[in-house]
Amino acid sequence: MIALLTVIFSFVGALVCGLMPARWHRAIRWVALSTAGLGFAAAFCCALRYTGPGMEDIISRTWIPSMGVGFITGFDGISLPLLLVTGLVAVAGVLFTWNLDHRADQFYAFYFALIGGVYGVFLSMDLFLLFVFYEIAIVPKYFLIAIWGGAKREYAAMKLVMYSFGGSALVLIGMLALFFASGLNTFDLRALMEVDFSSGLQAVVFPVMFVGFAILAGMWPFHTWAPQGHSAAPTAASMLLAGVVMKLGAYGCLRVAVGLMPEGAMVWAPWVAVFAVINIIYGALAALRQEDFKYVIGYSSVSHMGFVLLGIGTLHLTGMTGAVLQMFSHGVIGALLFAMVGTVIYTRTKTRMLDELHRLMERMPGIAWVFIVVALASMGLPGFSGFVYELYVILGAWAALPTWIVIGAGLGVFATFGYTLAKIHEAFFRERSTGDDASDNNNGESDADYPPMTLPEKAGVALLLGASLVIGLCPWLLTNHIAGSLQLLLNRFN
């Protein structure tokens, strides 16, 4: 029951925030913070109580028996890190939008509706229920971006929603095919996992479902919604999008596509790996070319999701453990990067264009150092979670995939170094080369130091960076559970 509380708290929070009058925005943010905090607390309790490796905290009720649908929730070592990261990002998202006063009631109503849907996906043990939560998460995204977003927000929001909905259409077809092929008259994932679907069916349905989910995971060439959507979104929403919503897709790929169709996965795994490597390299190179700071982070998300897909494509315990760990790690770090760029730096400099930033290292040294640490953590600095997952994924790839794919992934790692360092340089150390008097005057006026981080911002950074550090130093906290549950899933691969 504790696990389900995450969903319940979120939806109740959405309702409460929505019903409060907008002018109480100070009260609303406290309600929002406590809602997110309660959700995280519930997820944390799950983590403390979980013994593994099987499914725990199972709630099973009939819901629509005419269609074989049950209301079944539970979690295992694969969902656990994702529940935690959802909780963390939800809390941090509220902290980084602390000063929101424009339609705050509706903002948090949509925000928590989205978070409730996300928690629900990670908890669903019934395919239909999973799909329902997956779709519940779509519409709030639209409004969060279209109402509170930045430039080109309506276009980006519509594009994102179209891509998500298109992906879920593919998933729906695959779902029905599996349901009727199983002959069990149930969408219960535990039962469906026991079924040996015919190889022909698996070979056809696997790519349909995998692509359907992977669209939301930002798989090349269906990734274009991601940088645009992330950049147009308000900070809290882009944190959620990058941090957890993209993980919905990856989680679906892993739990549903790979989990239900091992043979199909084996047939298609090389292709998954190839696309993953394209993701990694393409995302990194595209990030290198961006001038808009948020787009840099957006493309880096695409690149990082490539590592998740690569880990899944190995179909090897180590690689897949790395994939799940990366979902956690990028959830935390990616969200933090968006927060740094979208709120901490933007509210001070009022620009996201890299070539307009000027001597930030001197003018906001504290923030600059924090950002550099976060960026290095994202790059895979040892001591942070980014390093561990990269190790796992690459080791898994060595064990399971052809050498040239590993070399490709290795190149991707170098490209990641490249854009991270280059963009840090551009943002913080580069002097803006402006010669004419007008801009000199302008500079002289705005050359003053920027204010330091506020308390909510510090708290958010501490929360997310701390989580990454903890997992980076003690990865076994998560990897034991992840590997245990993945082993159960992989037992069918022989």
Binding site: Q106, F128, V139, F165, A169, A177
Partner: protein
């Protein structure tokens, strides 16, 4: 013939008939010189009382307290009235929805012919009740004509808002096309009668379909395709929806859709065996794909909300056919369930649009809804529920309805060796078009929620009765989505 049995069986309809004559009579005598608003108020109250009485009588019939035997009662011979738990519940649902249309009609007075307007609404409702309870070729046809004629006349009654010429033109168009469609239908029915040798379609099942039957169904589908606004017989719909008084358009879109689908399913009963319907299926497939394409693509370009809803009605009729072509009990149940779910949501959407039209004094464009969240948050929220249900977003009814349609369609032939096996491809087409549909539904919601500036209009309050009606429809939409099982099970148990 036992007249007391007929009296008990027709008691609900009697309430409706008495109410409609009472409404006319009071209006013609006592209220001749009263204001339009007073006359509308009185007429809608009398009609409302009549429908409530009918609903109570139906409830008694359903629980078996009256003399009607709970399970299957044929009052007259040849299936002219088949009253069982299924058909009675469907009739009750239609009367209930009709009751919800009344407050909307009462607050939008679009014509000086107030009492006639309400009487026609009741007549249409009455006809729909007969449509779903009759399993006799002729009885069903007569009921359908009762509905159609009432709706033609209702369409013409929009003399407010400078739309009387358009309204008359649309009504004439509707009437002309509808008349031809009825002729087609009657012609088809006569052939079907020739093939079956009887008018009663409860028992008739054909083992195979000779040419005669195929031709019969060809004509029947043309006729019914028109009534259900299925492409390529949809051309009347956008004009009629736009020009008719909004509550009447709402009733055309919702009530007549449920009754029409029920009638279609009943008429397809004799060819339920695969050997019999194999020749008819291609036609149904064609209509399904064409309707989804025309409806969804056409809706993309609309700026008038009522017109957009008309195209969405065409598209949704197409979705319904996806389950109908399955020719299974599951498919029939899914089609009917979706028709109900769709009717509730579209009625709600029309209700909100009708309030807007009143406030603007003209037909609302999508752009007129901008900033609505600020001016009327309650209505905006209701519109959110209805539109998202139409788009098929969980946890609203439209999602479960659509899922059930696809579920049933694939269930009919789940094996897939080749891409054209089963109905996978049709479901895929439907899914592609529902992605397209989300675009135009979100266009409405974008105006409502995203825009900051508000359009200029007076904020006349909605009024209690209409608010209650909208609230009930919104709650139904949510409830049918969160907990559809009782309704689905009821349909499966008693109807198919």
């Amino acid at each position: 013939m036992d007249y007391s049995a007929i009296f008990t069986a027709l008691l609900p309809d009697l309430f409706v008939v008495v109410a409609l004559f009472a409404a006319l009579g009071v209006d013609y005598t006592k209220l001749r010189s009263a204001s339009l608003a007073d006359r509308a108020c009185a007429a809608s109250r009398i009609c409302g009382v009549g429908l409530v009485g009918a609903l109570v009588a139906l409830a008694f019939q359903l629980t078996g307290s009256l003399a009607v035997d709970g399970h299957a009662l044929e009052v007259t011979t040849h299936g002219q009235l088949v009253l069982n738990a299924g058909t009675l519940a469907l009739k009750a649902l239609l009367f209930l929805l009709g009751l919800l249309v009344l407050p909307l009609a009462a607050r939008t007075i679009s014509t000086p012919q107030v009492s006639e307007y309400f009487a026609l609404l009741l007549l249409a409702t009455l006809g729909m009740g007969f449509m779903v309870t009759s399993r006799n070729l002729l009885g069903a046809f007569v009921a359908l004509e009762l509905v159609s004629l009432s709706l033609y006349a209702l369409t013409a009654l929009n003399s407010a808002q400078k739309g009387s010429a358009k309204s008359a033109e649309a009504a004439l168009k509707y009437f002309t096309y509808g008349g031809v469609a009825s002729a087609f239908l009657l012609f088809g029915i006569s052939y079907l009668f020739g093939a079956l040798g009887q008018l009663d379609i409860t028992q008739a099942t054909l083992a195979e379909a000779p040419r005669l039957v195929v031709v019969a169904y060809l004509f029947i589908l043309v006729g019914l395709g028109f009534k259900l606004a299925l492409a390529p017989f949809h051309l009347w719909a956008p004009d009629v929806y736009q020009a008719a008084p909004t509550p009447a358009a709402a009733w055309i879109a919702s009530g007549s859709k449920i009754a029409g689908v029920a009638l279609l399913l009943a008429l397809l009963g004799p060819v339920s065996l695969p050997s019999a319907h194999s020749a008819i299926v291609p036609l149904l497939l064609l209509m399904a794909v064409a309707s989804m394409a025309v409806g969804n693509l056409g809706a993309l370009r609309q700026s008038n909300v009522k017109r957009l809803l008309a195209y969405s009605a065409i598209a949704n009729a197409g979705y319904i056919l996806v389950a109908v072509v399955a020719f299974t009990d599951d498919g029939r149940a899914a089609a009917l369930f979706y028709a109900i779910v769709y009717a509730v949501a579209t009625l709600g959407a029309f209700a909100v649009v009708s309030v807007w039209n009143d406030r603007l004094g003209r037909e609302a464009l999508i752009d007129d809804f901008r900033g609505a969240w600020k001016a009327s948050p309650g209505l905006s929220l209701a519109l959110l529920v209805f539109v998202l249900s139409l788009a098929g977003i969980p946890p609203l009814a439209g999602f479960v309805g659509k899922f059930y349609l696809f579920f049933a369609a694939i269930h009919a032939a789940p094996q897939m060796e080749y891409w054209s096996d089963g109905l996978y491809w049709l479901v895929a087409v439907a899914l592609v078009f529902s992605v397209v549909a989300l675009y135009y539904y979100l266009k409405i919601l974008k105006a409502v929620f995203v825009r900051e500036e508000t359009g200029e209009m007076d904020n006349t309050p909605v009024g209690l009765p209409a608010s209650v009606a909208i609230l009930v429809l919104a709650l139904l939409t949510v409830a049918l989505g969160v907990w559809p099982e009782p309704v689905v099970e009821y349909i499966r148990l008693y109807l198919f």
